[in-house]
Symmetry: C2
Subunit: 467 residues, 2 copies
């Protein structure tokens, strides 16, 4: 996923731009026609004339049958730069359909980080077969990458980077780059300065290299690398460091501190989006970030939290059943009780969303967390007071019962305070226990607000209205 | 927010790393003590020894009183690179506390995009006063930047970029960079190749410049720029292009197509996070992305959707009141009805979260949207069937009433199907009407599932159990 590829002639000529939806639709027709006619030359020419990201978009719009047809028809001619741009589920399907040797050919084409992404989708046995077909020098880095845990810096990094010894001069470095030519990575932002044991001493950004005199020594102009990214570091942590320090790239070091790879910010953008999607869906109880079109996978991604919700919902019903006597005598209680639960649930969810996001952005350390807890308490007090009066007033207009209005208003106030506190304390507690606050918080917070809503409203009603 | 700054001696010596929380806490103590003793030299030395992002973290941990004290005490000595790293609400407070001339001094220090960020927080009258104090050459680019709408490419871009005419050679370009020296931007990834009217003809990435022979002409090695970012383009659109095409930087052109600035990926990471935060909070009905510690701002950010929810909750109560007769005769209905609403609401929220995220990631065009609608329909059918049976079974164990179990099971099935469809059709409809699907969808979807839950459960019960 680099931007310039001198081996690819389409690059220097520029890609066909797709100006608008109409443009894209017409182009899509051409691709479909070429596929229908099984015109390999035309199909490949059309796809390769587009930016790989646009070509991948085209393929994702094909029907499942067309997509299967296209992958089977093109086989190893399917350009690897389009394959890697496909969304996860499409790329997995394509790799499934391709022959071992076609996948192997794609791996040889790609940077090591992209090749690793492809192999991650493949089951163990097939992975072995594909790797066996590769040249040893292509195979070794991939096997090493797969030895790292998923979602770590070791998996994400590319093994292609540019390093130079401390005593080199700017002139020597540029001359060396010219000699090495196309064997350099297509995209890099810094030259890493290493000692003889390959420990990173510093970095020289390319703009600095460019503007420094030829005779300047690298170790005189280099700046220190502020972050130490080990191969085992979690990708979320890596993404956080990139964001915090506005990094364009960073070296990755092994446990002995030797440079083994490099991570660039464009890969981090993908990780950031992946983590955001996970948090976003987790808040609504979707356990997999996969927006798959497959119904069974979708059911499996959603059923677990529905199952938990099934249990908590009956727990809430159990609370309501404690107040059968009150419900039996005052029908208005049954009519109004969902209002309390809905509003308190909403107030709790708001506090929860703000807290989960702040934790994800690492804004919830010591003093900040304490201030936020007070803020939620006061917000619950104020909003609970406002909406308690509002709900009480509407209830009075409807049922003309001052006592009933007082009971529901008080219940709202109480549950708003508790809801806001639950919305911050539950995710903070989960985070402290090293659980992901985005995943389970929502169901806990809503259970707390539901139980409290029905308990306080029906309980107060029993105490005050039935006596 | 660039990584290397040759004018800053602390950079080349490297920053003090904060290895862990304990380290940071000890350092924080030092800063507090220096502030307490009003030891300006010590305080500045301590803050500047840290990476500006770490120093900003320190300041955010101070109490409000300490923070006010520090900003007032340091005044124009407050390092501008720390000021710009502060989170929005802290930066706004600091700018409020600083004198006009101190803010002006910071603006002169910063890149134009960062300076614009600071001026955005300041009210019109003060902005004029501050700008008037600046040198004309510092003032003009800022005034031009502020002429662009907020959240557009024109506001985001930095006016510092590197461009060269087509006929220059690689050697000439590097020589020119050496002569220009520190007047070049600290960080850039490409040289833009322009014609005499400053129209962008192409770009040469720095790695390519480095490895090409001195005598190569820029227009022979340049690649086309695939994206055209106009000054008026919305920042969300810009961020999408950066993600899609894995860009490190891109030129920004005016309406006449002339290059006027450059956007780099590290700024886009901030935009991506901002947009993610907005979507994340909007889904839970928080209307401002501001995790402010101010209670009144928090109340104002949350009250609007609670107000809407107040109305929809009474609408739902109105539906329940239609079935007073049934509730009056069968108390189990009042006890069980929240189960239907909770589960259906959950199913709808899941579909909604997946859809809103897919729209944000632009995965919901034509064919994909149609496939997703079918997927939701089938998911509702399957999960509704599974949980309908589950809820029916538990209800039977509790109340030993086959008809009641049948009624609640059927209601669950029906509301799951409608909930999943509402979860996809409502955000798609809002997106089609060019409204933000993240903002209003949640309250609509939950109202639909609530109304349907109570209507179907109590309605079926009236039809079947009361006759």
């Amino acid at each position: 996923m680099t931007q310039s590829d001198p081996q690819n002639p389409a690059q220097t000529q520029g890609y066909v731009p797709l100006e608008d939806q109409g443009d894209a639709a017409r182009y899509f027709e051409r691709v479909c026609d070429a596929l229908e006619a099984e015109n390999r030359g035309q199909l490949l020419a059309d796809l390769q004339a587009l930016h790989p990201a646009d070509a991948a978009d085209m393929l994702e719009q094909l029907s499942s049958d067309q997509f299967t047809h296209l992958v089977g028809f093109l086989g190893k001619d399917l350009p690897s730069d389009i394959l890697i741009e496909l969304r996860d589920e499409y790329r997995e399907d394509a790799v499934e359909l391709l022959s071992d040797s076609a996948v192997g050919a794609a791996l040889e084409d790609l940077d090591s980080d992209d090749a690793t992404t492809i192999l991650e989708d493949v089951d163990e046995a097939r992975r072995e077969r594909i790797l066996d077909e590769l040249d040893p020098e292509d195979r070794a880095p991939l096997e090493q990458a797969l030895d790292f845990d998923e979602e770590t810096a070791g998996r994400l990094m590319q093994r292609e980077f540019v390093a130079a010894p401390e005593f080199w001069t700017v002139g020597h470095t540029i001359d060396h780059a010219r000699e090495t030519g196309n064997d350099l990575p297509d995209q890099f932002f810094e030259v890493y300065i290493v000692d003889p044991s390959f420990k990173v001493k510093g970095a020289v950004s390319l703009p600095l290299l460019l503007r420094s005199p030829r005779e300047a020594r690298l170790d005189d102009i280099m700046s220190e690398v502020n972050v130490e990214i080990k191969t085992g570091m979690d990708q979320e942590e890596v993404a956080y460091l990139f964001q915090k320090y506005s990094l364009a790239s960073a070296p990755v070091v092994d446990t002995a501190g030797r440079i083994t790879g490099m991570i660039t910010v464009d890969d981090m953008v993908d990780v950031i989006q992946e983590e955001n999607t996970e948090d976003f869906l987790a808040l609504s109880g979707v356990s997999s970030a996969d927006g798959s079109d497959n119904v069974w996978e979708t059911v499996r991604a959603r059923a677990p939290w529905l199952g938990v919700n099934l249990i908590t919902a009956f727990l809430v019903s159990g609370v309501i059943s404690l107040f059968e006597a009150a419900l039996d005598r005052i029908i208005a209680l049954a009519i109004l009780m969902p209002v309390v639960a809905a509003l308190a649930g909403n107030a709790g969810s708001q506090a929860l969303a703000v807290t989960v996001r702040a934790i994800a952005e690492r804004e919830m350390h010591g003093a900040a967390a304490r201030r936020a807890i007070w803020r939620e308490l006061y917000t619950g007090l104020v909003n609970g007071f406002i909406f308690g009066i509002g709900v009480g007033a509407i209830s009075w207009l409807w049922f003309r019962d001052v006592w009933l209005s007082g009971v529901i208003g008080a219940a709202i106030w109480l549950t708003f305070i508790c809801g806001c506190l639950a919305g911050i304390l539950i995710p903070l507690g989960l985070a402290r226990m090293r659980a992901d606050p985005a995943v389970a918080s929502s169901v806990f917070v809503l259970t707390v607000t539901d139980v409290l809503s029905f308990f306080s409203f029906l309980g107060l009603a029993t105490l005050i209205l039935l006596n």
